[in-house]
């Protein structure tokens, strides 16, 4: 209110002389803005500031770091999952895809204990979680007459599998035997590659030119499926764990053919060694009728 510098002494004097006048003015000047206007301005100010009196900075600041953290966690998780998947050999991946779920294990046990018709009835109406257990009607323990089911029965089984993408082609398979073979492929997920890769097998079966080969495989698989379930599981385990074996070692038939070939070329010792390896891998495999085991 007072003058700012000593040179303002005249103004200082004037201010002193008019002090009473200025007091009267301040007493007379008492107008205030309307209360409604006050409320309007304050509300607008709160709105402008996000209505966060006090710690408004915290309310804003945690969103960005939380979003970044969430994105990082999801990205890393996906990268790890994809990396693990890529690291697996293709055969192992397919075997895992064809591996039955724990629930299907129970269903398989039930299938072992139950009759074929009962199993077929049960499998004709599977739940969404059961497609992996579809091939189980061919699992071991069933009477031999059930190992090559009629086409209608297999198709009953095959239909739910058809809803599983690639396996869908099996429902339009050419013959009941082929369908049975295909079902056997799926039923022995850890079996040799042809059986462990249902997608490849079904693709092969989808053409008539390859149907004979499928039939031959079906016969071989019928023998496999005639064995008890425990045996098939025992056969499956080594194949799951040994993904770098020789091509013939993944297929018992091919392995036996390889042994025969060794013996035909006079390499009897190699044939014997290979046969011992075969027995280690497939201890319960039923040898073909014409096959003579090489031995020392």
């Amino acid at each position: 209110m007072s003058a700012d510098t000593p040179q303002d002494s005249d103004l200082e004097q004037l201010l002193t002389d008019t002090a009473e006048l200025r007091r009267q003015y301040r007493a007379a000047s008492q107008e205030e803005p309307p209360i409604q206007l006050d409320e309007t301005i304050r509300a607008a100010a709160r709105r402008q500031m996000g209505a966060r009196p006090g710690g408004s900075r915290w309310g804003v600041s945690w969103h960005v770091p939380a979003s970044i953290a969430a994105v990082v966690v999801v990205s890393v998780t996906l990268a790890v999952m994809v990396g693990r998947r890529e690291a697996q050999p293709p055969v192992a991946r397919e075997q895992r895809a064809a591996a039955p779920a724990p629930r299907s294990e129970v269903a398989r046990d039930q299938a072992d204990a139950g009759s074929a018709s009962g199993v077929l009835k049960e499998k004709s109406g599977p739940t969404a979680a059961e497609p992996a257990a579809q091939p189980l009607p061919h699992s071991g323990g069933a009477p031999a007459s059930l190992e090559a089911p009629p086409a209608s029965a297999v198709q009953k089984v095959g239909r739910p599998v058809a809803s599983e993408g690639k396996e869908g082609k099996s429902s339009v398979g050419p013959a009941g035997a082929e369908l049975g073979a295909e079902a056997a492929h799926v039923a022995a997920p850890a079996a040799p590659p042809a059986a462990a890769a249902p997608a490849a097998a079904t693709e092969a079966n989808s053409t008539q030119g390859q149907s004979q080969e499928g039939a031959a495989k079906a016969k071989a698989e019928e023998r496999v499926s005639a064995q008890p379930l425990a045996r098939k599981r025992a056969q499956a385990r080594p194949a799951e764990t040994d993904s770098i074996a020789s091509p013939w070692e993944k297929d018992p038939q091919a392995w036996l053919a390889h042994i025969e070939e060794l013996r035909a070329t006079g390499r009897n010792e190699d044939a014997a060694v290979s046969f011992r390896g075969f027995r280690n891998r497939y201890p319960d495999y039923q040898l073909p009728a014409g096959f003579v085991a090489p031995g020392p």
Binding site: L14, R22, A28, S29, R42, A44, R46, P53, G54, R57
Partner: protein
């Protein structure tokens, strides 16, 4: 103001309560229309809120606030909405206008109220530049330097205008003192 610019709504309330009356009367005395004064008043505070993030500590908050008010008022006058448009650069060496003092009738019932009314009238009759300096000094509590900063003039001009304004008011009120 720093707390307010940081988003503290309570700080805004404190500033508003402290300055609302002075700013409103400054506008009311200048434009002499309550409705217009309210409109300008709301605009000023809204601008203050919107510009809070750009606020830099270069002067007292009061100086900053009255600068906003002054600029808004000048904008209002430039648009032809004001009652008068007087250049703030003109020198106000004309003698105080005391014509109204002759019309004052001392027969009023309450002399103090009459004095107050007369004083307000005298302020209204001051030249715009003198009135502005007087109001910034009395309503805003600003010093000469601060008034010069608000009005964009030099300190000596402010001092001269204030002296003239006070002289005119004293002359106009001599019948009551």
């Amino acid at each position: 103001m720093l707390r307010f610019s940081g988003g503290d709504a309570a700080a805004f309330d404190a500033l508003y309560v402290r300055h609302r009356g002075g700013v409103f009367r400054y506008l009311l005395r200048q434009c002499r229309n309550p409705a217009t004064a309210e409109e300008l008043f709301q605009d000023i505070w809204t601008n203050l809120v919107q510009a809070r993030s750009r606020y830099r500590v270069q002067a007292k908050f009061t100086t900053y606030l009255y600068t906003l008010a002054h600029n808004r008022l000048m904008d209002h006058f430039r648009r032809g909405k004001g009652l008068e448009l007087v250049s703030l650069d003109q020198e106000d060496d004309d003698p105080p206008e005391l014509a109204a003092s002759a019309t004052v009738q001392p027969e009023r019932a309450a002399q103090s109220r009459e004095q107050a009314r007369r004083l307000i009238e005298l302020v209204a009759t001051l030249p715009a530049a003198q009135r502005q300096v007087f109001l910034l000094h009395e309503e805003g509590g600003l010093g000469l330097e601060e008034i010069a900063a608000v009005t964009g003039t030099n300190r000596e001009a402010v001092k001269s205008r204030l002296r003239y304004a006070l002289a005119k008011l004293r002359e106009g009120m001599k019948d009551y003192v």
